[in-house]
């Protein structure tokens, strides 16, 4: 077995050093009645060559969105990834290292986390960001829990224009803690109205949650909702499911957001059937000690040279145990590194220009289709069809086109509509084919 170096002579010598006759003697602590003696229903070992052939065959049974005209978004987006990104994250000093518990030999990971935290703060216009969460959805759930800790209240008002699955995750995290989610009904209007959110706010409300651009691709009026939150003295949580929008839209921090979370998949991370992605999490300095997750800080070593360490860990599970701000331990560090490299390569101009190209494609799509709503947008548009989305998608699939998301799956009263996403990779030809083959 090529991963196992010991020869049988070495094993014998080691057993001798231990003072036992056989490897099985090291397992005597396992009582006989639970010793596994059965026949394992697992395959026989496979060499690298047949394994690769098998994996290629399985891969061939998939039709990846990256090799077809695609209009699927709804929380995962097909953006361009510069070649240097994968080359750099393949440096095995990065990917074969553990959490940087020994800072002297983990400065690479730590400095990269510090750069990531800085980038997240800049993109969101927030004061402090953590080292990452599992994904945008779990980041939102943790934001809800944090808001309740900060305010000592137990209700969250959330717009139903927030990604349906993100709301489900928030529910999984909050419901056993006695935290109520009050969900608005703004989907028909396509945008969270301050008035409808206001109706749900009570004396127990910890925070109001909106997503922008929201699930339907519409940009929320963060100014009005932020003002509502301040007037009602509740925290303002903003979720960003499409990180590329941060190159085009004003950051949530501009509107007084107290906690901002996001999904960073668009920042150089392959769609990879849903993961691994990276959750972005940022807040105000005054709430720093209530944050979940790891934080990296800059300090100096014994000789006064700059260096980085994990810090403020008194919030975390390995110190505080049941009183920790979260149970998170492993996060998505390598994905945060991926996004850091991506943002570095794209740079100030490239990131903004890419976002603009997404917007131009969306504007053209909107011009050529029948948009349901008339709100400001970025790269996703809900459009009207003459028949159910599932039928249109079937027709598109026959032409090798991956259509949009059928929102009636989550909003049963939204029939004959489709959520279409475009990116800088969408071509004019893709769009022509969509409109021609969709016939809607």
């Amino acid at each position: 077995m090529r991963y196992l170096p010991l020869t049988s002579e070495e094993k014998s010598a080691m057993l001798g050093a231990i003072g036992v006759a056989a490897v099985d003697d090291l397992f005597t602590a396992i009582p006989a009645d639970i010793r596994f003696k059965g026949n394992w229903n697992l395959p026989a070992p496979m060499g690298e060559q047949p394994l690769l052939a098998h994996l290629k065959e399985l891969a061939r049974q998939n039709r990846p969105a990256t090799s077809a005209p695609t209009f699927l978004g709804a929380g995962a987006y097909n953006h361009f990834i510069p070649s240097a990104v994968d080359q750099l994250i393949s440096r095995s000093e990065f990917y074969t290292s553990y959490t940087p518990y020994q800072p002297e030999i983990s400065q690479g990971t730590l400095q990269a986390i510090y750069e990531w935290q800085s980038y997240v703060c800049s993109l969101f216009n927030m004061e402090v960001a953590n080292a990452s969460m599992y994904d945008g959805a779990s980041a939102l759930a943790e934001a809800a829990l944090m808001a309740c800790r900060v305010t000592r209240k137990e209700e969250i008002v959330i717009s139903n224009c927030v990604h349906p699955r993100w709301r489900q995750v928030a529910r999984s995290y909050t419901e056993n803690r006695g935290i109520g989610l009050q969900v608005s009904a703004d989907h028909v209007a396509g945008r969270s109205e301050a008035a409808s959110l206001e109706k749900l706010i009570t004396a127990h409300t910890a925070a109001v949650v909106v997503q922008s651009p929201n699930f339907f691709g519409n940009v929320e009026d963060l100014k009005a909702i932020g003002e509502l939150c301040r007037a009602k003295n509740v925290l303002f949580i903003v979720a960003v499911a499409e990180a590329a929008s941060l190159g085009f839209l004003a950051p949530p921090g501009d509107f007084g957001a107290d906690i901002v979370v996001g999904e960073g998949q668009s920042l150089g991370i392959p769609m990879s059937f849903g993961g691994p992605y990276v959750g972005m999490f940022a807040t105000r300095e005054k709430h720093m000690r209530q944050m979940p997750g790891r934080l990296c800080g800059r300090t100096v070593d014994k000789d006064g040279r700059p260096g980085f360490v994990l810090t403020l860990s008194a919030r975390e599970q390995h110190i505080r145990r049941e009183k920790a701000t979260s149970n998170i331990c492993s996060n998505q560090a390598l994905c945060a590194l991926t996004a850091t490299i991506y943002l570095t390569l794209m740079g100030k101009q490239g990131f903004a220009d890419t976002a603009k190209n997404c917007f131009y494609a969306a504007a053209e799509l909107r011009r050529r289709m029948r948009p349901t709503h008339r709100h400001p947008f970025f790269n996703e548009i809900l459009v009207e069809l003459n028949q159910p989305a599932v039928e249109v998608n079937g027709r598109l699939a026959e032409q090798g086109i991956i259509g949009g998301y059928d929102v009636s799956r989550d909003y049963p009263d939204m029939k004959n509509k489709m959520l279409l996403a475009v990116t800088e990779l969408t071509t004019k030809q893709d769009m022509d084919r969509l409109i021609e083959a969709g016939g809607a």
Partner: protein
């Protein structure tokens, strides 16, 4: 004695990326759009639009590449040398796994594509679930949890849903004092009080104490087996009986699964639900802190509550079933860390059943070899053989005012990643050494020699250990300053 692996090498000073570059430089060439470049102000008021993007770098591609390459050189990985970080199972990360995860047929899949276009990916998930169930002796699995802690959370949610359906979710979860910090934190997240169970003098669960603590308010006992002292809970069947007798369930933390594959299975021990860490036992890389993957596996009684969607196979066609009325719901935006599943799938196929068993046997052999060789030089708090990791302490070295931290830093200078230190909490000055099965005897011998040499130096020149490390990029860092004056982001 073999030459120690640590040597001096040229590394580069490298400022923050924000201190690089020139205005107008870029690391990408963004093509001009094919579409009309309409003025954003025609669709949104200026207050909604982004001004200049402050805080992003302006560097060329070669500068960016050199920056991150230099950072990587300041890191220590499994590919660098021995990484005996206890409880973390830092085994070799096979390269074919990386190739698998990068195949466009997988990496290019959008999670919401129609199942007819993702049959290969769904099959990987379906088969991996089945294989993991076989390893653990469990009936059903969900791969969805993104890491071990989320797996614990999921497992406890299953337990809560089960009790709730019986009419009473119950109030507390019993956790041995040797457990990982994530255990009580996960219990709290499910609104359970975490009750700490002190270990017996032999380092195992004290049956009498458990019997006393276990009552009708207890939802579950959460344990790690082998435990974090590297010892197998030999009374596990009795432990499970005590819990089950009062209507409670038993949760198995799979952090130490690498000790027992093919030797004992959670299901056969009486454990009702467990998680596994694909980034430990199943060779997927830890990535400097993640992504991991923490599948949750359960007995039949808990299957209805597993996270949605479930992967299904009907008439030869794979699908995702969202219609799970009793499910605890969703834990992730999509179906979890699929890229990690691919790596674990490739690993299980490579090893096969016989290889996984050999991996556990070898991991245990290696840990015992290190324990046998270091006994005498270091204090062994719990005698006897160990499983896949051994726990030592700094008791002897403390006589010379040398601590576990000093020993750890001394190892760095000698070219080794230190073991896990100061954990488990019940051993003062603990060093938890987990060699894994992928290390050669020569490597372990050089590590043993370095540990012995450090034990000698502790007597003759303790100051040198207090000053360690001196060969790393930086010396010991001022953690107090980091916490007192938090500097968590770059400011111009």
């Amino acid at each position: 004695m073999a030459q120690q692996p640590g040597a001096r090498g040229l590394v580069f000073n490298e400022p923050l990326i924000f201190e690089h570059g020139r205005k107008g430089r870029a690391g990408c060439d963004v093509p001009k759009s094919e579409f009309p470049e309409i003025d954003p102000a025609t669709v949104a008021p200026p207050s909604m639009l982004r001004g200049p993007l402050e805080g992003l770098a302006e560097v060329s591609e070669p500068e960016a590449v050199r920056h991150f390459t230099r950072l990587s050189q300041w890191n220590y990985g499994v590919d660098s040398n021995f990484y005996p970080l206890g409880s973390c199972t830092m085994k070799y990360n096979p390269k074919v796994n990386e190739a698998a995860a990068r195949m466009e047929g997988f990496a290019g899949l959008h999670p919401l594509q129609d199942a007819s276009t993702t049959q290969g990916a769904l099959r990987v998930m379906y088969d991996l679930e089945k294989m993991l169930c076989e390893v653990a002796g469990m009936d059903a699995a969900s791969l969805q949890p993104a890491a071990g802690a989320q797996g614990e959370f999921a497992g406890l949610l299953l337990i809560r849903a089960y009790h709730k359906e019986k009419g009473n979710p119950r109030k507390k979860v019993i956790i041995p004092d040797s457990g990982h910090g994530t255990n009580p934190a996960s219990a709290a997240l499910c609104d359970y009080a975490a009750v700490t169970l002190p270990s017996g003098p032999d380092g195992l669960i004290d049956l009498a104490l458990l019997e006393k603590e276990m009552d009708g308010d207890t939802a579950a006992l959460m344990l790690t087996n082998p435990n974090t002292l590297g010892m197998f809970e030999k009374n596990i069947k009795k432990v499970c009986e005590i819990v089950h007798a009062k209507g409670g369930l038993v949760y198995g933390d799979g952090a130490n699964l690498n000790a027992v594959m093919g030797k004992a299975r959670f299901g056969d021990m009486g454990i009702d639900v467990c998680h596994m860490n694909l980034h430990k036992t199943f060779s997927t890389p830890h990535g400097g802190g993640g992504p991991g993957s923490g599948p949750v596996l359960a007995k039949k009684i808990l299957e209805p509550y597993l996270p949605a969607p479930r992967v299904t196979l009907r008439d030869g066609v794979y699908g995702l079933d969202f219609n799970r009325p009793k499910s605890i719901g969703a834990l992730n935006a999509f179906w979890g860390n699929f890229g990690v599943y691919l790596r674990a799938y490739a690993y299980v196929l490579t090893m096969g059943g016989s290889g996984l068993k050999e991996a556990s046997e070898t991991a245990v052999l290696n840990a015992n070899y290190i324990l046998a060789k270091l006994r005498g030089a270091y204090h062994v708090p719990y005698e006897g053989t160990c499983m896949h990791e051994c726990v030592l302490s700094d008791k002897f070295q403390q006589e010379h005012h040398v601590s576990t931290l000093d020993i750890a830093k001394g190892l760095i200078d000698r070219g080794f990643h230190p073991p896990t230190i100061y954990f488990p909490l019940i051993v003062k000055g603990a060093m938890m050494i987990e060699p894994t099965e992928t290390e050669s005897m020569e490597t372990m011998d050089t590590f043993i020699a370095a540990m012995k040499e450090i034990a000698d130096v502790a007597k003759t020149d303790p100051e040198s250990l207090a000053a360690a490390p001196v060969t790393a990029k930086v010396k010991r860092l001022d953690e107090t300053q980091a916490a007192r004056q938090p500097d968590l982001r770059y400011r111009r």
